[in-house]
């Protein structure tokens, strides 16, 4: 809401308050001032001028040469391009040296050979208001030669306030004046309707009736017929004020309705009375398949929930949202009907939302208007119309009808009890007293109905739809007292054991571990493009195919919710490549959630929702936590110590093992993945990672075709993705398995080379080694060479293994070790055909 302080001072004495102070006060009341704009006066050198003669420009048809009296002996000669100058007209003259709001300095010039000693200005050029054609037309009573700013002072400050949706009343000058007045202790000055009731010369009901369909969403409908109006421009001061509010001036009638909406917060509508058929106007709900052409020219399809203003024949407007084109005020309109009403907030909201017609009026109806002031606002409209037409001398035919007031059930004010103890307790103000509470609430328009030492009863004003309970009154007291007056205290709390979900600190440690392992964290949007999943080679049947779609995505490409972080990381790696980071590689990780349909992924439930209270709990989307990473080539960039090292599967595996090791998870197993499960992985350089029977995730180079389709021009990145929940569970299981006491006595080290068939995987060899039944002192075994080549038989390979043997209480003898080695080699030969090389 834009608030002109000069306008505001009509309703509240602001003397002694600087604009910046007023802005601070509004902010401290909860009406945040977002912007504070000061507007300058019109330059002193802009004078009132009287056109005393006009001649056509000898060389240009579109220009005229005016002689303008500015109070000097000699008139000024000014060339003007506007159409409306006429002899005897009073207008604004920017004399030489004056500066206009746009920064233009007026100089003497020659226009097509004709000297011009100034400029005749439009309201637009002077910054008074917009959209006015031609030069400014001043009243005849203005004196030529007097600075214009004596008649029109544009000096002002305009505050832009952010009004929260609970404060319907503050979408008006009166509401804002009331709040500020309560804060600074000054009374509200209501605007005048003086004498207007007496001006009513006929009964509106003799011409028009009001029919409210019962149970329809209109609690009060006030109207008045006014005859013999002239559809002229509104007075300049009103245009100026509408302009400051950001509204365009249209004509006197429409401008008055907008002006009063700003003044009082009550939207209203004026109809051309010719358009109302059958002698009555009413409110009803729309019928199916009914249509209405609204003011903006659009034909609207209506629905039964829409509230309509209608007459005997047809709909006239969408109640509270927008008027109809047919009944709008036209240039030749003579008789008008003014409607001031209350409409049901929910119905207005539904209609305006559905039709995407959010207007100043609908916003106010949605939040709730003050039903008690409706007749007053209607009188104000009559008053302003009467004053304006009379001032302009256009009131000869004007005849004002009295007010029709359809108000079937008078709304009563709600009575709310307020306990002093509760005020003190909630606000933490132990010494606030009864009188202070009463003073604040009365200033805001609350009425004290009763009081005892401990309790007060207040009647809430009808413009405050947000006041329902005691705590709402407490907030008002806190607001006016000032939050800065409330002390800062720390609560006293009982020490209490915490039961924090283990996954929370696990997540924190995991991210630290990944960063320590050399990966940088990225955070990305979960809004995914379905095409990414197609590129990964996934189909609709795949578990990772995104099934959760947004109804209102930012764009079609961001329409689905993530199931996997692989697309995020591939995009991130590409982003890093494109930002010139290619030669440097990148190592990234993310910890985030994938979103799944509960029907497909029941086993994925990670128990994030703590309760099951709401409807639709069974259809709740399942959120699965992943941690995932990408290593893009080079793993290490080249430097003065070594050449660049391309990314290999084993860099990734080393990483996974390191992370596993950090959480005590050592026995991870790696198996070749199935192509249909992981079509995006390189079949020869990838693995599914398991702990026992549980699959924790996968790791591998990206499939060359997928890489190419995604935009990786060369070199395959390595990706891994792990189920955080299963990984965490596995790490807990591992801890139960116990740990080995540290070694105290020296080990005996023996290195061997085994020849074995090529098809035997190291994993199988290692499994055999781990299952060695005569194991007594074998402590550790590590492979340190894998060899295939000329010195070994075709179809065979060699593993070089370094073993260590230990006893927990003494040093082993060679003899003991020799025996165990012999048993071990026999066992390995039996199990995996591994023969000790000579």
């Amino acid at each position: 809401m834009r608030l002109s302080l000069s306008w505001l001072s009509d309703y509240l004495d602001l003397s002694g308050y600087e604009p910046s102070h007023i802005a601070e006060l509004f902010t401290s009341l909860g009406l945040e001032v977002e912007e504070c704009l000061s507007l300058p006066s019109i330059d002193e050198k802009v004078l009132v001028g009287e056109i005393i003669a006009i001649e056509p420009h000898p060389k240009a048809d579109s220009l005229q040469v005016c002689q303008v009296n500015t109070g000097k002996e000699e008139p000024l000669t000014i060339v003007c391009g506007a159409r409306n100058p006429r002899k005897g007209m009073k207008t604004a003259v920017a004399t030489i040296g004056s500066v206009l709001p746009g920064g233009l300095t007026i100089q003497a010039t020659e226009l097509r050979g004709q000297r011009s000693e100034g400029m005749l200005c439009s309201a637009d050029e002077l910054g008074i208001c917009e959209g006015q054609e031609g030069i400014l037309e001043l009243e005849d009573s203005c004196t030529a030669g007097v600075p214009l700013k004596q008649y029109i002072d544009t000096k002002d400050t305009v505050l832009t306030l952010s009004v929260t949706p609970n404060r319907a009343d503050c979408l008006s000058y009166l509401g804002l004046a009331r709040d500020l007045g309560a804060k600074i202790g000054r009374p509200l000055n209501y605007p005048s309707v003086k004498g207007i009731k007496e001006k009513a010369s006929f009964k509106t009901k003799d011409f028009l009736g009001i029919r409210l369909a019962s149970s329809v969403g209109c609690a009060r409908f006030v109207g008045s017929l006014i005859k013999g109006v002239a559809v002229t421009p509104a007075p300049l001061w009103m245009q100026r004020r509408l302009h400051l509010a950001g509204m365009r001036s249209k004509n006197l009638i429409v401008d008055i309705t907008n002006y009063l909406m700003l003044e009082s917060g009550q939207p209203m509508h004026a109809y051309d009375a010719r358009a109302i058929q059958g002698g009555w106007i009413g409110v009803r709900e729309a019928n199916k398949s009914e249509t209405l052409q609204t003011l903006d020219g659009t034909l609207r399809q209506l629905q039964p929930s829409d509230l309509l203003i209608h007459d005997a024949e047809q709909p006239l407007g969408l109640a509270g949202v927008m008027g109809g084109a047919y009944s709008e005020i036209k240039e030749d309109t003579k008789d008008i009907f003014i409607e001031v009403a209350q409409f049901d907030p929910v119905q207005v909201r539904k209609t305006s939302k559905r039709l995407a017609l959010r207007s100043e009026a609908s916003m106010r109806f949605e939040r709730g208007v003050d039903i008690s002031q409706i007749p007053f606002v209607c009188h104000r409209a009559q008053f302003l119309l009467y004053q304006s037409l009379r001032h302009a001398g256009l009131d000869e035919e004007l005849a004002i009808g009295d007010l029709l007031d359809a108000y079937p059930r008078e709304k009563t004010r709600s009575r709310i009890a307020l306990r002093l103890k509760r005020v003190r307790r909630i606000l933490g103000l132990p010494h606030i007293n009864l009188d202070t509470c009463i003073k604040h609430l009365m200033a805001l328009g609350f009425e004290l109905a009763d009081k005892t030492e401990e309790r007060m009863l207040f009647d809430a004003p009808l413009w405050r739809h947000d006041i329902i309970r005691e705590v709402d009154l407490i907030e008002e007291i806190g607001r006016l007292e000032g939050f800065d007056k409330i002390p800062s205290e720390l609560p006293r709390m009982v020490i209490q054991p915490n039961h924090e979900h283990m996954m929370i600190s696990f997540g924190e440690k995991l991210s630290q571990c990944l960063a320590t392992c050399g990966l940088s964290e990225v955070k990305t949007y979960p809004f995914h493009n379905l095409d990414w999943y197609k590129t990964l080679g996934l189909t609709e049947q795949h578990l990772l195919w995104p099934k959760i779609e947004l109804a209102n995505p930012l764009s079609e490409q961001m329409g689905h919710l993530r199931t996997s972080c692989v697309p995020d990381l591939l995009q991130a790696a590409l982003h890093n490549r494109s930002k010139g980071g290619y030669s440097r590689g990148c190592r990234l990780f993310t910890i985030t959630r994938g979103f799944f349909d509960p029907k497909q992924a029941a086993g994925f439930d990670q128990g994030l929702h703590l309760t099951q209270k709401a409807q639709g709990e069974k259809e709740r989307i399942i959120e699965k936590k992943w941690f995932a990473g990408i290593l893009d080539t080079p793993f290490m960039e080249k430097d003065w110590l070594r050449a660049a090292e391309p990314v290999s599967f084993f860099h990734g595996k080393a990483l996974v093992e390191k992370i596993g090791g950090f959480f005590g998870l050592k026995n991870l197993s790696y198996k070749k993945p199935q192509a249909e499960q992981h079509p995006f992985l390189h079949p020869g350089a990838s693995a599914v990672i398991s702990y026992g029977p549980e699959e924790l995730g996968f790791i591998g180079l990206l499939h060359p075709k997928v890489a190419k389709d995604f935009g990786f021009k060369k070199d395959l990145p390595l990706i891994f993705e792990m189920d955080m929940d299963l990984f965490h569970k596995a790490s807990l299981d591992q801890k139960k398995a116990g740990t080995r006491a540290p070694a105290r006595f020296p080990a005996v080290i023996r290195d061997f080379a085994f020849t074995l068939p090529q098809k035997v995987l190291y994993g199988e060899f290692k499994a055999a080694l781990d299952a060695f039944p005569q194991r007594k002192h074998l402590w550790d075994a590590a492979i340190f060479d894998v060899y295939e080549g000329s010195s070994i038989a075709e179809g065979m390979k060699s593993f070089a293994i370094s073993t260590s043997f230990r006893h927990s209480e003494r040093t082993l003898t060679d003899k003991e070790v020799d025996q165990e080695v012999q048993d071990l080699t026999c066992w390995l030969e039996m199990q995996v055909s591994a023969v000790l090389r000579a």
């Binding site: 979900h501 924190e508 982003h575 703590l610 430097d639 003065w640």
Partner: protein, 363 residues
């Protein structure tokens, strides 16, 4: 004098001469110094060394002479050993000096690529800092769903359907699932936690939230931390105190906070939390739009309607809740300019940042 003694005397003087000349030469031998001493030792005191051979001959010396000769030889041996020991110490010193005098490394050469440095995202870093602080205060950390049922995100929080307050947060809805939204705030945790626990409650819950908003200062995804305290006798003053305390822990004790009235349907009274501008320190600058204050979160006393929706006795218990933008705090702490840049997936973005923001160093 026994002949053996004479020879011993001769050998002794030969040894000490050799030792003396080695001594003067040691510093030149540098890295080989102790090897030279070892050579001398083997020559004279080794199994086949000159002195050891003399001892062999002692066996054949007559009984009467043996004590005297033996004693003399032993003295000689002891002296020689001492001399060797001294030489050895000198040699080690010489070696050390030689080693230290070798060509020093160019310690200014970089090790960037081999250091394999990783980093946490600024939002994660700020999140961890916040959790550290709240855990010290005795708070429990909660987690909750990001895709949420309408009830938890709105209705139970005193935001009924068709209420204008729903417009305050532009919400992402799911297709074909009427009651489900991407949560617009972490306040859904208030309902989940209070339905599960009985008072007293003190918890924090960090998490991602989503709103249909995408411009230079708004990202459709951002992060909040929710804090909830419910007990008997909790007041607005307590909320002020806690907010002030934790903001000071993050930004330094010289920073002020202020609360100004605002509206969030699930609290009453409700307030916006402003932090003194970290750039201009309250003087007024572009970042704070000349106000000297930065909006950083919302707070308020939990609305009795919310207590009633979780079957808490709103007469017996009072409480407060606040929610802060973690992204916003991270941006202020590390002086980051563009919110959306944080979510572009650039790894180098995280790497630029020190783990503790510079403003902390000031405090």
């Amino acid at each position: 004098m026994h002949e053996l003694l004479k020879r011993a005397e001769q050998l002794g003087s030969d040894f000490f001469q050799a030792a003396a000349s080695l001594k003067t030469a040691l510093s030149h031998h540098g890295l080989r110094a102790s090897f030279q001493v070892e050579e001398l030792r083997i020559n004279w005191l080794g199994k086949k060394g000159h002195l050891s051979l003399l001892f062999e001959e002692l066996k054949s010396v007559s009984k009467e002479d043996k004590p005297a000769v033996g004693k003399a030889l032993n003295i000689l041996k002891k002296d020689a050993e001492q001399a060797i020991e001294q030489l050895l110490q000198m040699a080690e010193q010489a070696e050390l000096e030689a080693a230290l005098n070798q060509k020093p490394l160019d310690v200014t050469l970089p090790v960037s690529s081999s250091s394999l440095q990783g980093a946490l995202h600024p939002v994660t870093l700020m999140g961890h800092m916040l959790l550290d602080i709240f855990r010290r205060y005795g708070f429990t950390v909660y987690d909750g769903p990001e895709v949420e049922l309408d009830y938890y995100n709105f209705s139970a929080l005193n935001i009924p359907e068709h209420h204008p307050a729903r417009d305050m947060q532009d919400t992402f809805f799911l297709k074909d699932r009427k009651n489900t939204v991407l949560r617009t705030h972490t306040s859904n945790i208030q309902i989940h936690s209070m339905l599960k626990e009985k008072p007293p409650i003190r918890l924090v819950a960090p998490g991602r939230v989503y709103r249909v908003d995408n411009d230079a200062t708004h990202s459709p995804m951002f992060h909040q931390i929710e804090c909830v305290v419910v007990d008997e006798g909790i007041s607005f003053a307590h909320m002020k105190g806690l907010i002030d305390a934790f903001m000071k822990s993050i930004f330094g004790s010289s920073f002020k906070t202020r609360l100004r009235p605002s509206y969030f349907p699930f609290v009453e009274p409700g307030a916006e939390v402003d932090l003194q501008c970290t750039i201009c320190r309250g003087k007024g600058c572009k970042v704070c739009k000349e106000t000297g204050w930065l909006e950083i979160g919302g707070c308020g006393m939990i609305h009795p309607n919310v207590f009633e929706s979780v079957q808490y006795d709103s007469e017996a218990y009072t409480g407060f809740a606040f929610g802060f933008g973690i992204d916003r705090m991270a941006m202020l702490a590390w002086e980051l300019k563009d919110l959306r840049e944080m979510f572009e997936g650039s790894g180098s973005y995280s790497q630029m940042l020190p783990v503790f923001p510079p403003s902390l160093a000031i405090s």
